[in-house]
């Protein structure tokens, strides 16, 4: 390579380094993806994100704006990616807007479902991730990660990543049900003195304009009794259901309980026109 080529290469490198960057483009880094075994036996991919300070990504229900990350993969017949498992979000309420966000280092579990419940893929997976990340302005980002075949038996996922706890299912001591058109929660408070319910995105079902809803915590129990607004015509042809997280306590590592309960439908939803 001639000295002129060296000079040109150096000039290009300098020009690139001086070009104003899209700050959002570098606000999220995928730290790694690893195989885990969920409590129900399904294998899952734990995606570890690292979000720059002051930036945030979004929970499954982002709140008033935003959009949650998505995962896609081209899998052989009989395999699919399951519904992701989301860690506890932070509830951000500013300027009349409520958002449910993930910040800093956080983990996202994406089940991989095969022909049998415990089946582990014997093929590598090209995981395609997309996300929206915001500070004052927003950016969309993506990454493609090649996940090799699991070596050995995957371990259970950690209870938390970056301090944000993964949810647990209701225990035998917890009561979560839909009675008529009301959501009724009566759960063990697990030593915490506060609680609130954050609804996920449930087409056709709403707990009203206020999300999250506070729960009353007394005598070791967190209770909530919330009427549901039902609009079967908005359910996109799916069964009506209410889902979300009961956040106990106020810290990111405090327990949270995830549940989904179907709502009895009195009239069938009309299918959407093609």
């Amino acid at each position: 390579m001639s000295p002129m080529h060296h000079l040109l290469a150096a000039f290009v490198a300098l020009a690139l380094s001086l070009a104003p960057p899209d700050e959002g483009a570098s606000a999220v880094r995928v730290e790694g993806v690893s195989w885990q075994r969920l409590a129900d036996g399904r294998p899952a991919l734990l995606v570890r994100f690292d979000v720059k300070p002051e930036w945030h990504m979004y929970w499954t229900n982002p709140g008033d704006s935003g959009a949650p990350p998505t995962a896609k993969a081209d899998l052989p017949a009989g395999w699919r990616l399951g519904e992701p498992i989301w860690p506890r979000p932070r509830v951000q309420e500013t300027d009349g807007e409520t958002l449910f966000v993930h910040e800093g280092k956080w983990g996202w579990l994406v089940p991989v479902e095969g022909p049998t419940p415990r089946a582990l893929p014997d093929f590598a997976i090209e995981l395609k991730l997309r996300w929206m990340v915001c500070r004052l302005n927003c950016s969309v980002g993506s990454a493609q990660v090649r996940v090799p075949v699991a070596v050995g038996e995957p371990s259970p996922p950690p209870a938390e990543v970056g301090g944000a706890s993964f949810p647990v299912a209701p225990s035998v001591d917890d009561r979560v049900c839909v009675e008529g058109d009301a959501l009724r929660i009566d759960c063990a408070a697990r030593g915490k003195m506060s609680g609130r319910f954050v609804q996920a995105t449930d087409p056709g079902v709403s707990i009203g304009e206020r999300n999250p809803l506070p729960a009353a915590v007394a005598e070791g129990r967190a209770k909530l009794d919330a009427p549901l607004a039902l609009k079967p015509q908005d359910a996109l042809g799916k069964p009506l259901a209410v889902s979300g997280l009961l956040l106990l306590g106020d810290r990111p590592g405090d327990p949270c309980i995830w549940f989904r309960r179907e709502v009895a439908q009195s009239s069938p939803a009309r299918p959407v026109a093609p």
């Binding site: 008033d64 935003g66 959009a67 009203g208 549901l228 009309r270």
Partner: protein, 227 residues
Amino acid sequence: MKQNRLISMFAVGVLALGAVSLAAQADGTSKKKGDAAQKAKDSKGHTAIEVGAKVPDFTATDASGKQVKFSEYAGKTVVLEWINPDCPVCRKVSESGLVKKMIADAKAIDPGVVFLMVNSTASMASEPKKSTDYLSSHGVQPNATLIDGDGKVGRMFGAKTTPHLFVVDSKGTLVYSGAIDDSADRGETAGKTNYVINALTQLKAGQSVSPGSTKAYGCSVKYAKGS
């Protein structure tokens, strides 16, 4: 003496009312059945039009500075889309041709359908050309581009994201509010169902619109502070 007594009684009354209110909140029970069916309010108390309600007339300024009255479009189906050229999600749905195709498909169903693009970004109120240039660069030709710098129109409709779509039928009733389509990757690829086209198809067939609302995705509308 009498005045002091009255003041004391008033103070006791206020305290009692406050205690009752606190007690009601503390039990965490949303007792009013109508709570879930109240008018849509954001956390600042703005009351937005709900799906199924009539859209009141309003006046807005278009990008050329002309006053536009919503009632000018009486008797026509109107589609409103909230935009922000600085929002990457908004840009994605425009760059992919999704909005241009939506307008073309909509006019094939209803040649008289009106498209209004609305920019409620406070900081862009003084740069209307930014909105029109953004739209024309993507082949999007609405009937009007409304510059809503004070956020009045946005707040009235309850626009929360860019993009956020609303469909008003020819009788002036809001029949749809939400996302542009059911794209699972937020506009990277077109979804299977465009909810605006779905609404127009159903209106033409004399059916009620279903779904009437979906969750809009995108950047927050950058309203003026305190609006």
